[in-house]
């Protein structure tokens, strides 16, 4: 089957087949970045708008690079410089971008569900680049892509996600994506950072980091956002490192070739020690490279699907 969605809002609603389609499309796009002329004309004439309501460098740049390698035109809007500060609603902003005849909005937003709402109100494609604590689908896709590339398969693997699960869109998207693809997932965090009923997402839960590492083929280490401290119950930095930080010591007790992932940016000495971040098990920079291929695939698929939707509407 083909891809029929005009938007990518999350991984929860995707089928296994749709996830596999994105991954295989990304595989074919990965080669583009190793060419001398790193460009294909797939989205020539299309306009991609990066609409970022939260500061982000790596995700925005990754989307920008991906869009440009597909020959799309890219416009970046950050809240500081836009009329959003003047009180324009999200829907109005979306409709204005639509009126500019843009084709895709890539949106980062601090409110959960913002991308879902925007997508309901505009006909152009919406790609969620992270909404609140809800989903960050392209991050999870690039994590999964990297995992598959490294280990050759996904089915039957054991992945542990460590860190602030409660407030993490990366965790949620990874859980939906991985479990649909047959990966066994364990989440590991201090109890205060485990959200209610998370086990209903089909994951095992532990607060023991050694247990989380013991059988894992990969560990995905989330960024700890200590700026949350004070807002909700939150562990202290040093305590966190002592209890949950990934160190060479702890990795010794894990599988020898365990893969260590991190969505970045890393707090060295908090989520993991520097020698782990830079060590042989780390695939953190490969994740960044793969992010481009995955985002190229997503932009390409939603643009193509929306084209079809529009053509069908014309016929009807």
């Amino acid at each position: 089957m083909g891809w029929i969605r005009k938007d990518l809002l999350g991984l929860e609603e995707l089928s296994k087949e749709e996830l596999e389609l994105i991954l295989s499309t990304a595989e074919s796009f990965k080669e583009v970045s190793s060419r001398e002329i790193k460009k294909v004309p797939a989205l020539r004439g299309k306009t991609v708008v990066n609409l970022f309501y939260e500061p982000s460098t790596r995700t925005r740049v990754s989307f920008e690079v991906a869009a440009k390698r597909l020959s799309a035109d890219v416009i970046n809007i950050a809240t500081e410089t836009s009329s959003v500060k003047k009180g324009e609603t999200l829907i109005d902003t979306g409709r204005n971008i639509e009126a500019l005849k843009a084709d895709i909005i890539v949106m980062r937003h601090n409110f959960s569900g913002a991308a879902v709402m925007l997508a309901r109100h505009v006909n152009l494609s919406v790609v969620n680049a992270g909404d609140g604590w809800h989903e960050h689908p392209t991050q999870a896709l690039l994590d999964i892509f990297t995992l598959k590339e490294k280990l050759g398969k996904l089915e039957g693997l054991q992945v542990s996600i460590v860190g602030d699960i409660a407030h993490s869109r990366v965790a949620r998207s990874n859980i939906w994506g991985l479990t649909k693809l047959g990966v066994k997932v364990t989440v590991c965090a201090p109890k205060m950072l485990i959200p209610v009923a998370i086990e209903k997402m089909g994951v095992a839960v532990t607060s023991d980091i050694d247990e989380a590492l013991s059988n894992a083929d990969a560990v995905n280490v989330l960024r700890m956002q200590f700026e949350r401290d004070g807002e909700t119950a939150f562990p202290k930095q040093l305590e966190y490192f002592k209890e949950f930080g990934i160190t060479q010591e702890r990795l010794k007790k894990a599988k020898k070739d365990i893969i260590v992932m991190h969505p970045g940016p890393i707090n060295r000495g908090i989520e993991m020690s520097s020698d782990v971040a830079d060590g042989a098990n780390s695939v953190i920079l490969e994740q960044v490279t793969n992010g481009i291929a995955v985002r190229m695939a997503v932009l390409f698929l939603v643009a193509q699907a929306n084209e079809k939707i529009k053509n069908n509407e014309d016929v009807n």
């Binding site: 929860e12 609603t89 999200l90 829907i91 937003h109 409110f111 959960s112 569900g113 913002a114 879902v116 709402m117 909404d131 609140g132 604590w133 809800h134 989903e135 869109r169 949620r172 959200p195 209610v196 009923a197 998370i198 209903k200 997402m201």
Partner: protein
């Protein structure tokens, strides 16, 4: 002016009537209820195949006037009420200014006299400005016409102040309606705490934040002997506490709203702010408990908690959107569809919950088809199915959870103090 309602199935639990009968209305009063009334009438309503009920009494309505006439006015809200078969509403005091003084009651009374289409009764604030700091003057509020007290939208956090409020209410013999919510326990949540809040990545509101406060409000009411009514009950634990209190002869009554017996938290999964309310839609188990509580009589009243908001406040990011939904125009059909349709209530019990009980709780002379009573009567087509559409609402606001749903039961006529309104759309 005489109106004769002919051959409808008349349901009037106050008089233990459920039979095919005629009702003769003279001017604003009911003059006769009997079979085959032979009388010359100016207007005859053929009610064959229809159900004839006392007009509904909705004891939880936000009319927004004074202060937020962009959301609703006394005129538009009371028109919406009539269209939904509601002939009497209790207007909540969380307006701007809040209805917390004699002077402010005069403002709203004047507005009601000027523009109300239905019977509008006044609920005044427990505390000045609804700030939970200082009690309003209950005696003068009552004297000026308030028939109940509530800080609805907020709970009075301070135990000592609430205790004093109940003491005063007991002294004045006035009902206290509690919005039972511990804001601290609610922790800034926007949906029910549970798997849904986890899936959506939204802050959750625990049932604890509701039932702990229900427990307190009932305890304080019991200490003082005051009458207390718990508004918008949404969860099982609250019901258990209320059941125990009723067993122990505490003077407590309670209500729930159509959204709590129709929907559960899963309705929020699309982030549609028309499913955002406070208390939030709870789990499926809670929804079933509300249905059971309605069926077995524990829940005395169905009230809409009609809470109009403009599109600018509602059609935005879920976390920023205002809480609450409109309900006047859909509550009867929702109850017919969900409660009668599932054999949880019969027509008499429906009238109890939506007319006679609220009337009794508020001390109103409504909710019956007594000869001599105000002619507040509705004629309902019980079989007609209709789709709830945004463009058909009389309310100024369109924030309904029921948009797009098919409901059964259509109000064809509303008589309010004898005045006949006919509804087509």
């Amino acid at each position: 002016m005489k109106t004769l309602i002919k051959a409808g199935r008349v349901i009037d639990p106050a008089n233990k009537i459920d039979a095919l009968m005629d009702i003769l209305v003279e001017d604003s009063k009911i003059s006769k209820v009997a079979k085959n009334i032979q009388a010359a009438a100016d207007k005859i309503i053929d009610a064959q195949g229809k159900i004839v009920l006392p007009g509904l009494v909705d004891m939880h309505v936000h009319l927004r006037e004074p202060g937020r006439e962009d959301k609703e006015t006394i005129c538009s809200g009371s028109k919406a009420a009539l269209a939904g078969g509601v002939t009497s509403v209790l207007a909540m005091p969380n307006t701007s200014p809040a209805i917390d003084s004699k002077e402010n009651i005069k403002i709203i009374k004047t507005a009601i006299q000027k523009s109300a289409q239905a019977n509008c009764f006044i609920c005044a604030a427990i505390t000045k400005g609804r700030l939970g700091e200082e009690l309003s003057d209950f005696a003068s509020l009552k004297k000026e016409g308030a028939i109940a007290l509530s800080d609805d939208g907020s709970s009075v956090d301070k135990d000592a102040l609430m205790l004093e409020a109940f003491k005063q209410a007991k002294k004045e013999d006035i009902l206290v309606i509690c919005h039972s919510e511990d804001k601290q326990l609610a922790a800034g949540g926007v949906v029910n705490l549970g798997f849904t809040s986890t899936r959506l990545g939204l802050r959750g509101i625990s049932t604890e934040s509701e039932y702990k406060r229900v427990e307190r409000d009932i305890r304080l009411a019991k200490e003082t002997g005051a009458r207390v009514h718990i508004a918008h009950v949404s969860c099982q634990e609250s019901l258990e506490i209320i059941a125990r209190a009723k067993k122990n002869k505490v003077r407590v009554t309670c209500e729930s709203a159509p959204h709590y017996f129709t929907f559960n938290e899963e309705a929020v999964l699309g982030y549609d702010p028309n499913f955002k309310m406070n208390p939030p839609l709870r789990s499926k188990e809670d929804m079933l408990a509300i249905r059971k509580g309605l069926a077995d009589g524990l829940i005395d009243v169905i009230a809409s908690d009609h809470a109009p908001h403009t599109e600018n406040e509602k059609d935005i990011e879920f976390e920023r959107a205002e809480c609450g939904v409109i309900g006047l125009e859909t509550e009867l059909a929702a109850a017919i569809t969900e409660l009668l349709g599932n054999n949880l209530l019969d027509w008499s019990k429906l009238v109890l919950k939506m007319s006679l009980n609220p009337s009794r709780i508020l001390g109103l002379n409504k909710g019956t088809l007594n000869v001599g009573a105000d002619a507040d009567i509705i004629v309902v087509d019980p079989e007609r199915e209709w789709i709830v559409k945004k463009e058909n609402f009389y309310s100024k606001s369109k924030n309904s959870s029921f948009i797009g749903r098919s409901l059964k039961g259509f109000v064809e006529y509303t008589l309010c103090q004898g005045k006949v309104h006919r509804w087509n759309s």
